[in-house]
Symmetry: C2
Amino acid sequence: MARDKGEAKSGFQLKVPKGTKDWDGKDMVIRDKIFRTITDVFKRHGAVTIDTPVFELKEILSGKYGEDSKLIYDLADQGGELCSLRYDLTVPFARWLAMNSSVQSIKRYHIAKVYRRDQPAMNKGRMREFYQCDFDIAGTYDPMLPDAEILRITCEIFEALGWKGRYTIKINHRKILDGIFEVCGVPTDKLRTISSAVDKLDKSPWDEVRKEMTEEKGLDGAVADEIGKYVQQKGGRDLLTELQKDEKLSSNTSAKQGLADMDLLFAYLDTFGVLERISFDMSLARGLDYYTGVIYEVVTEGSAPQTGEGHKMQQRAKKEAKSRNGVNFDGDEDRSNDPSVGVGSVAAGGRYDQLVGMFSGKKDIPCVGVSFGVERIFSIEKARLEAEKTQSSVRTNEVDVFVMAFGGSLLTERMQVCKQLWDAGIKAEFSWKVKPKLPQQFKAAETNGVPFAVILGDAEWAEGKVKIKEMGLSEDHPDKNGVPVEVKNLVEEVQKRLEDTEKVGTDVEALEKMGEVKIEDAEEAPKTS
Amino acid sequence: MARDKGEAKSGFQLKVPKGTKDWDGKDMVIRDKIFRTITDVFKRHGAVTIDTPVFELKEILSGKYGEDSKLIYDLADQGGELCSLRYDLTVPFARWLAMNSSVQSIKRYHIAKVYRRDQPAMNKGRMREFYQCDFDIAGTYDPMLPDAEILRITCEIFEALGWKGRYTIKINHRKILDGIFEVCGVPTDKLRTISSAVDKLDKSPWDEVRKEMTEEKGLDGAVADEIGKYVQQKGGRDLLTELQKDEKLSSNTSAKQGLADMDLLFAYLDTFGVLERISFDMSLARGLDYYTGVIYEVVTEGSAPQTGEGHKMQQRAKKEAKSRNGVNFDGDEDRSNDPSVGVGSVAAGGRYDQLVGMFSGKKDIPCVGVSFGVERIFSIEKARLEAEKTQSSVRTNEVDVFVMAFGGSLLTERMQVCKQLWDAGIKAEFSWKVKPKLPQQFKAAETNGVPFAVILGDAEWAEGKVKIKEMGLSEDHPDKNGVPVEVKNLVEEVQKRLEDTEKVGTDVEALEKMGEVKIEDAEEAPKTS
């Protein structure tokens, strides 16, 4: 859609803030489908939902996000409390648990926007305002059972989105990492910062990460090399078995416990039928401070950065084309077409057993959870739909009946008929013109894909009748001009036809269930006129 | 629910920011029902939805809200653009229309949170963060037809909420008001400020409003008296007829046009069957700057402030009781129990034909809309449900099957059965214990109102069988210990029983349709353990 930028009156910029966007038309329909898919799986596993404020007291967020704390949005000091926009949904959940002493366990989901003052890459779904869909399990249970269920839920969601075979869950354990750092000789005060460096191995080669560790962070080169031997490994149960045989690691309490957890988890994931989706990736560290156990990230095609010179040129051409279409409405700072930027992980999470305790002196509740990045999933879904050319003509509104006049005004009569339909809960509209032209009324109905027209004519109305016309019938169909019905039976007659239509499955939901999401761009179509 | 305040570690306050709240348990279920009711009506009238960012560039919001602009939340200046949290959904909608030049008309709804740094009254639904549900019609149509449909939609929503006969739509017209001010002799530069004073007549007696006009705002006393004669009138078509006969008013261009609009609108509202819900109230002015035509507010029992000394004492006792229960978790500043504060209007809106033009030099699109205040509607709904004692034992989660072991662990087997059910889309849970006790498993299922248990026993499992037990059967029911089924047929057997259950209508939705919302407080019930 064309966005008019800079055409505003009196010199101010007509745009949305950097890193944010408006959602409308077909994008809204795709995004809603993602929300519905995710919510259905959450409910399948017994979750309830809670809703917390978009901003929290500033001190609630302090000390929870490590190096990323600089990305937190603060509200201006306008007198009163100092507040910040939430950075994720996990810390507010932990704060809620700490505040509500009667809750000792809960499975909750929360779908809401979060805020990060990061450098955006809009059409890769990396934004400053974006939705997270979180599922968390709080409570004391036997080891790794909730963790396994969270990973099962994660797989169910990507399967339900139709991503079968196209995603991988990278998994690691904070205690294994801590053990590695300990046995390699990382000083305690450097643990978190070295962990952050390791986490960059998905984007940067080992040489660069090693340089960050030694030159920026002052780690001894030999220590870095020892770390490098461990964290560059990836695998499955084979890797776990190998690590369990590593005497240095097994003699470390933390690593030993982490490895035992992983052993149990792998067994449970096998039972749940999702082990083949898992990759044990020892470079995965996750930036956030609060994780204490298993950690994971879901990656897919497009998650990693793209490279290569030919590719860059192709990207540049695309970028220029897109700029003309106004897609890059946020200006040059957007990194959407920078090949060194990938979509990143589409879901991530882990165990955080001490976060609630950071808020409450009274209780600590172990938690494990996962968060889905809807905009990133959206950007991949949208690209897929475009590639499959399955975006065409499904409707963005749901009107069932367009009430129109055949010649003349019949305004009051059209309004009366609409009232009758609305009273029965039927979705209906009419033209807001005193004397609308018939072709315009038909066009409005056709453009929005309305399945039925109710046509009023002077002579028929005098006899207490109107016509119901099924839209889109061929020229030689006997009912192409509509079927006369008594006004007093209209609701019944319309409902009968709508039920029949639903049976043949032309509604959006049915199409979606069949995996054929066909969506039209609402903005390009003229609205009811 | 008990909220633990001030029990946080290291001296910071464990609370949500002033004027905000967490939503959970039964409150969330009631609120979701309100959202669903409103959305259904919006869709019945052909609306599509859009979503805009929670913050806008500060200059977008400037000069749109009159005296209320001081209530806007600003983001801190952290480098880059200056932004503010949205104050309503109308200005962002107008900004979106101005930015998207291909859209000349649209019916859109938007349900989202807005922000106002006002003095809160939490349990009257007056909050700093609150939801608005907006429906707006943009586009050029014949006069008063979209306006009439908006008012029809408003009535449909309150009827659907079950408020029949318990709400009134106060209506007025900016052009009539402007005409009155002109003929009474208000100087042009005092128009908006005198209009704001008139708007207070729903809360304050005329004497006080007159004093504000003359003493605070420097209006001539005789002019104020002239205004007083007009704006203290209320009525229906009778009042309109009377005003149309008023020669002074009819000779004023603005007033004349406003009266003609009202005449047409009343005729349309009559056709739509909603005229009896309307009160023509000449004191209604609405605070916002951007209205240009018809304006309206929906009031109900509880909208107006309460007064009286006996009442005050009663309120004080209630306040103390509530404070003990932690309802007033926001402290003494909350005005929830101040009898001089009412819930206020539960919906409001009007026509704004020039707002889009304030953003775009290129186009101006006439708009009319309405906004529903969900928290205020919620507070009235909740009080009603409590008064009717219809809050008891409906579930907050939707689990259909609890998979349990009769003696022993059978952990892998329970997980396999859950996997089988989840694969078929059935909502199921199991105890996250390696060796759970049977009574605890039953208690978890009963507490959450799960309709079926699938029970695994060693001997039966060896034969490829499990038992399905319908929960809550009487002691003498032949199936009270469950019915054995083959594991391979389990999904089918469960689905058959779930369909039967749905037919007898025990699900939440069915109850809600019957108007019997029975909700249990989820936090007081122990979760799966």
